[in-house]
């Protein structure tokens, strides 16, 4: 480290003297010849007076409360980390089921609507129900429905 970047060795003494108005003759002489210390001495008393002003209106929180909060936060962070894989799996399951429903509705949407229409009371009375839905589509719909309900239950229970 060269002299240009080194702090003046009397800097701390000058700060102390300026704050406490305790100047020695040698320090006074030094300040007169050191630009850096002159700048320190010029603002030192002001900074010291400024630091003495206590602006705090409210007391600081109790350390016991902070300690407890920190421990609780630590606990919830640990729990969050532990449940992260489950949450990810849940999101993946939602995406799979949503895609399944989208695919089914696009593929057999109209057939499903016609099938549901057949159960309307007026249609039941007037016309016999035509068997327009294949067993595969029926199984797919029932499967998706069951998966949706199970996932919903899982989400509710996990939240609780």
């Amino acid at each position: 480290m060269n002299a240009m970047s080194e702090a003046c060795r009397y800097e701390a003494d000058v700060i102390y003297a300026a704050a406490n108005d305790a100047w020695s003759e040698s320090l006074r002489a030094h300040v007169a010849s050191c630009e850096e210390c002159a700048a320190t001495a010029a603002v030192g008393p002001w900074m010291s007076g400024f630091a003495r002003i206590d602006e705090r209106e409210r007391p600081l929180p109790d350390p016991a409360v902070l300690w407890l909060k920190a421990k609780l936060m630590q606990g919830s962070n640990t729990m969050e980390r532990a449940t992260q894989p489950i949450t990810r799996l849940q999101i993946a399951a939602y995406l799979v089921i949503a895609s399944g429903w989208a695919a089914l509705l696009m593929w057999k949407g109209s057939a499903l609507m016609a099938w549901f229409d057949a159960f309307k009371p007026n249609r039941i009375v007037s016309v016999p129900v035509p068997a327009t839905l294949s067993i595969t589509v029926l199984f797919a719909a029932v499967g998706l429905l069951s998966a949706t309900v199970m996932l919903a239950f899982h989400t509710v229970l996990a939240e609780e």
Binding site: A7, R9, D13, E36, A41, V43, A51, E55, L60, A70
Partner: protein
């Protein structure tokens, strides 16, 4: 502080803070934390308050600093190092806060009346805070750490995340700027007597 104290070398551990070996860290117990908090929280709050100019923000950031400290449980060599660690954390939080709010000067700056015209101590106190808030955040931090916390250039460099050799120049400029502002506002102290 005596002149002899100034000539003592920087503790080896601090100078090589970045390269020291990590050793298993004992978790801080509640009693230790309480003692540390009681000693440090007040000065830390004042530092954060003088940097931000807002009491509620200072409350919030001081708490966050201690939460972070407890969460990270850092390897510290002694009480001074522990204290520097929380000041460094608080400084980072303050600068993050400035980045988030894009606000560095929290009080409006008005032309101050001359010192003789100020009637009471309350107004003078307010003027002092206004002058300080006119400085850049880094200048405020530098001046507070050097004059109030009594930190060395190495410690200031560590707290502010700057090079040690830059601190001298930065501090000199900050002092000059504050001195000029105080003179302009009629608040300059009498100086060396």
């Amino acid at each position: 502080m005596t002149a002899d104290a100034l000539l003592l070398p920087v503790p080896f551990g601090f100078a090589r803070a970045g390269t020291r070996q990590r050793r298993p860290n004992e978790p801080m117990d509640e009693a230790k934390f309480e003692a540390f908090y009681r000693k440090t929280a007040g000065p830390l709050w004042s530092y954060v308050y003088r940097l931000t100019g807002d009491a509620a923000t200072a409350d919030d950031l001081t708490q966050k600093t201690f939460f972070r400290y407890l969460r990270s449980n850092p390897v510290v060599e002694n009480e001074d190092h522990r204290r520097r660690y929380v000041f460094k954390t608080a400084t980072n939080l303050v600068f993050d806060h400035f980045r988030e709010t894009k606000r560095e000067r929290l009080t409006e700056v008005f032309d101050l009346p001359h010192a003789e015209m100020r009637a009471d101590r309350g107004e003078l106190r307010h003027d002092m805070a206004r002058v300080f808030n006119e400085l850049k955040p880094q200048e405020r931090a530098l001046l507070w750490l050097a004059h109030v916390e009594g930190s060395s250039h190495e410690e200031i460099a560590d707290t502010l995340g700057v090079k040690t050799k830059s601190v001298k120049v930065m501090l000199f400029r900050a002092r000059k700027r504050l001195g000029e502002m105080l003179t302009a506002k009629g608040l300059a102290p009498e100086g060396v007597r």
